[in-house]
Each structure stands twice: as C-alpha cells, then as structure tokens.
Symmetry: C2
Subunit: 401 residues, 2 copies
Amino acid sequence: MLRFSRRMATARRSFVREILKVTEDPSIISFAGGLPNPRFFPIAELSRATQKTMSESGAAALQYSTTEGFPPLREYIAARYRRRGVQVGANDILITNGSQQGLDLVAKAVLDQGDVVLVERPTYLAAIQAFGLFEPRFRALELCEDGVQSDLIARSLTEDQPKILYAIPTFQNPTGISWSAARRREAASLLSASNTILVEDDPYSELRFAGEPLAPMGLVPGTSDLAPWAVLLGTFSKTVAPGMRLGWLCAHHEIMERVIVAKQAADLQSNGFAQLVLNRYLSDDDVESHIAHIREAYGRQRDLMVHLYEKLFPPEVLCTKPEGGMFLWMTLPKGLSSMDLLEKAIKAKVAFVPGQAFFTDDCGGNTMRLNFSNADEPMIEEGMKRLARVFATATLLRKAS
Amino acid sequence: MLRFSRRMATARRSFVREILKVTEDPSIISFAGGLPNPRFFPIAELSRATQKTMSESGAAALQYSTTEGFPPLREYIAARYRRRGVQVGANDILITNGSQQGLDLVAKAVLDQGDVVLVERPTYLAAIQAFGLFEPRFRALELCEDGVQSDLIARSLTEDQPKILYAIPTFQNPTGISWSAARRREAASLLSASNTILVEDDPYSELRFAGEPLAPMGLVPGTSDLAPWAVLLGTFSKTVAPGMRLGWLCAHHEIMERVIVAKQAADLQSNGFAQLVLNRYLSDDDVESHIAHIREAYGRQRDLMVHLYEKLFPPEVLCTKPEGGMFLWMTLPKGLSSMDLLEKAIKAKVAFVPGQAFFTDDCGGNTMRLNFSNADEPMIEEGMKRLARVFATATLLRKAS
C-alpha cells in the first residue's frame, strides 16, 4: 500500500479540465472552458518573433536563467502597470507559468494547515484547488453586484484572522462581476489595518468592452502605490495566448523574497524560450490594437449571448451582464440542478460548467457558468438555442412530475 | 506584520542560483552552475521547428491543452524508455517544467509534515529545497563509490518508515557517482517489500561517455517493468536545452493520478508552445547524433579536467572520475573550508560550488563540486590553473599559521 499525503485525500481533478475532454468532440458547442478565441492568436507574429529571437539571442533563450524572469519582460509589465497608474518597478515582478502558478507559490509561502483563506462566493475553481492543497479553512463571502460588502470583510478579518483574502475584483470568474471603486477602497482600508495578505487575481481587466477602467484593490489607500500587503497576479493568456504559459506575480520585497524561494524549489524558473519570444513580440508588434481587436470581438459575442438569453429564457432564469471578461453567470429557478441539465445538454451537443464547482460549501446547485469568448457568433446562436431547448424540456418535465 | 507559512522560516534562496549571478561577470571562469555548453544548443533547428509548428498547428500550440501534456511527445518519451528496455506507455508520462517540477509535484502528493525522506549523502541541493518546503525529516545515507549499501537502506526502511527514497543513481549530482547494477537490484528488492516510494531522478544518463548503460532502479526486480512504487524523472534540459523547461515524470496510475491533480493546481499544464516545437524538432532532426556529439565533447572536457586535477593538485585532494554527467566532486584535506576557498577563488576569477549545500546535516565543509560541461577546453585549462593556485596559497597560509 503506497502512502500519499493527507492533502490528497480530498483533492480531485478539476471538473472544468475534465469537461474540456468531453468537449473535444467537435460536434459539441462548448461554453464550458475559459478558452480565448483561437482566431486571435498572433501565430505569424510569434513565428517571426521566434526567428528573430533565435538568430539574435538563441543561446540566452535556451540556457538556464534567473528565477525572477527575463529583465526586459519584467520591465515591460512594470511599465504597463505604471501606465495604468500603479507605481511598481521591474523588481516587483516575478514571471510565472500563467497566473495559476502565482496562486500555488503564494499559498506555499503563506499558508499552514488550518489557516483561513477568505474567498468570494462563488470563486475561481482552480484557486480553490491551488489553495486547497495547503489544507486551509475557506470562508466564503457573498459576492453582490458591486463586490463583497465591507462589513462582511471587516467581521471576518477580526473573527477569522485570515492569512489571505483572495479576490478577482474585475470581471470575476465565474460570475463576471466587478467590484465598484467604493467597495475596492473600503476593502483596501480594512486590509491596511490588518495583517492579511490580499491576492488580487486579474486575468481579465484588459478585456473591458464597456464602462471605465478601475484601479486595483491592492493599493495603499489614497495613493497609486502598490500596498505592501498586496499580491497582484496577471497573465498573457487572455491577451496573447495561453499555450505560452506566461503570467506574473507583482509584490513588494517582503512577499516577493519568499515567493522567489518557492519558485526556485517549484521549477527553478519559467520558460526562457517563451519569455524571450514573447518579449520580442511585445516589442515589435502593435499589441494595443491586437488587444483592442479582441475586446471588440468579445464585446459582440457577449452582446449576442446576452441578447439570446433575454430572448430565449424565461425571466425566472437570472443572468449577469458583465462589462468585460469571458463569462456569464446564470441562476436557474431554485430546485433545478445545473448538473442534471449538463447531462441533457451534452446529449443535445452543448456544454457549460455547473456552478457548484465554484463554491467551497457545495451550494450553487442551480447556477452555471457560460463562456462567450471561445465560440464565434454563429456557434453562440446555435448553442444558446440548444441550451434553451434543453432548459425548456427540463422545466416541462419537472412541472409534469 | 505579514504572516508567512512555517515552512518559509528556514527556507533560503538556492546558493547555486545565487552564485550564478556572481558568475555572470564574463571574466570569471565558472565551474559552479550545472549549465550545459551552449555551443550545442540546436538553435537553428528549433527555429525551423517553430516555423513549421506555427504554420501547421499554431492554434493548437497556443491554446490551453491537457494537463498530462502533448500526446505525441509523451509517446516519444515512452518509446525511448522502451528502447532502453523499460516497459512503459504514453499514459505513464506527465510533461513537467523540467524535472525539478517533478520533485515538487511528488513531494506535494506524498509528504506530510514530519514524514521521512531518505536521500543520498550528499544529494542534489534543489531536491533538498523542493522536498524541504513540505517539512519532512531528512535521513541521509552515505553514498559510496558504487551507491548506497543495502544494509543502510534496509535498516532505514524498517526504522524510519520513509515515505520517499530519493536517489540520482546515474552520474549523481553533486558527486558524479553511479550506483552499480548490483546495488540497484538490492535497493529495488528492498523497496518492493516496503511501502516507500522511490523517486529516481535521472537527468544525466544520456551523457555517458564511458562504461555500459545501466537499467533504472525503479523496475520490478527481475523484469523490465516499471515498478508501481517508482517515479522516474527525466528532462530535455541536458540533451536539448534547459530554457525550454521541459522534463517528465514517469509513473503508473496510482501515483500518476495524484501527481496530475497536483500539476493542475500548480500551473494547469506545461508550456504547449514549447512542447509542440520540441516534438517537431525531435521528429524532424537527428537527435541521436546530436546527443552523441555532446557526449563526445563532455567526455573530452571531463578528461581534461581530471588530467589537470591529477597534474596540479596534491594527492591529499581527492576527486571522483565519473563515466558521464557534468560534475566532479573534490574532497579537500580535513579542516580546509571550501567556502573560504570560494571567496579567494572568486577574487582569482574562478568559481565552483562549496559542497556543504548538498548535505542535509551541514557537513561536507571540505568538499566542492566542479562542473565540466559548461566551459570549453581552453577555459577549463585556465580555470583549473587558477583554482590550483588558490588552493596552493590557502594550504601554504594554513601551514604557516
């Protein structure tokens, strides 16, 4: 009998990643994954960037390099923050394997068994997994239309003494909700007076197609300075390509120093080849208009999906209308199970993610997440029709029974 | 006051990785890192492979993909094992960010705080780090010329009930020592009768320039089948390029299932772009003669370094003469500190790694690791002369005092 760690006793494969396998069947229209639309991958540009990188600095790209990451790429990321009004330098940036690795590294640097992690309710499934392997206790704070209410945060900071508050304040996964500027400021004030570390996950803020940009939560209140208690996570997965597996972690020295130790032990450094190629692409190509292009397309895709929801579903089915990101969040009438619906949906060749996976307390059985970034408009149209038919049949059968 | 995890209280940055920064000064001849010679990086080949990959399957390379890794690459690795006489299939392979990540994932899947990990004495520094973050107790078993004596292993398996035995049986880092076939068989028999998991790290076996290839330790005794209690770790870092950050973990279902859960939480998947490019390179190019070429060059470099050691150092300085890999292991007369020597060596523009970092019990103060793969022959000649001068001066001063 082989013996494994206690943490593996309850750990499971990601439901979302397993659904991805089902949806490899090309006849299934998938709203399940959080995949960017591959139509926008800068394939030719990255190919050119590779030729140039290899002829100019092939040996540097292919040799071992520093744990922190390729300095010009770190500077690019810092400069981009500064243009958004956040005062950080290249030394505050660590290159990671997507922002997912940032979660693992922070968890390792901060969490002991039994420590409390505050999360939004619902929250990102793979964050539950990443933190969960360090055996914390989760406290989930109800996410409202404009964020988490500050009295909930205040009470939990006092009562639970959480090590981490984890939030995705902009176009949250799975709900698409953004915290308002006021809610962000309130949370930052509370955090400033606590010894809790904020992990602010932000994969989506570049994908805004309506409304005004918002400052991150992790700033010293009243300034544009990164707070010493904040970790910002970012990624190139949604703006360039997820297959490059490049993201970053932004934090000041006290946190950064520990995270670097964790990164060294985890995999020495991120992919140097990919880092240099990406940096070349970012320097040589017009990334701003590339992102603008994605933004515009996703905006149209969201509009269409929201329009079809309004047209095809009855008013007792609720749905968010986010100003950006990749997801809609649907709430079915109480008592309807989105997991049962998924089974029928897959037979009807359409897929989504049942919402329960995003709750740490097994609730949300009547919720579901719909991705609008991956499918083109004709597919969205057809998929939403299939989904509406599945829903209508399920409701009819339920009334009949 | 921010609060970090207990594991960070003793964790430090890797001494080797920090020395790498010192040795970025081009006037220093470095025998410190474990760097391959960049002269052999297949730069043009990888550039061509990228172009082909991007034009044929750019979207697949850049999209999210499965946690396990790119199927053809997994099959390539399995087939290579089968050619070495180890019966495994593609399902037994997980693609990782270098073999370093394999250590982190196995540690996460297997270790609880206080569990015992058996290691060779000395052992690979970054394995001490990776395992160390899961707060085990280390037991170090003296590494002799032909491996660890089986009575030591037997006693420890009984007394310590270790969760893991970690070994690098071929051209070990740091010593260059290989376990004999007999020692491997003895260890496998003992492990078969225990519930300890073997983590067999093998980054170097392709770099053999003398002697006969040896079967892995992790086989069911008397067969060529991978044992259910074995994890084999491998990497493309030494044969292709470390900047690609691609390695693998090979294990059967019971272990693999847990490690995949850990991988999903850690970073979802390894770099898809790099995986497809590497796979293209491995299919299109003559990798066997590429490796043969490296092997031959490293063999010459080792010969030269050993020759200079014999010529320039007195007989009371001991040194291993490995049949492959990247390292020599030097033992200075008792009482001489290799850490003190390093300080003087850096002033004389030559660097190595003091051996103490490779011990879990702070011993080995008179040992040091010399890398012979990274420097070309003229540099080896000059570096060894500088080192011998530093050593001679230190000995003289010691006798005078």
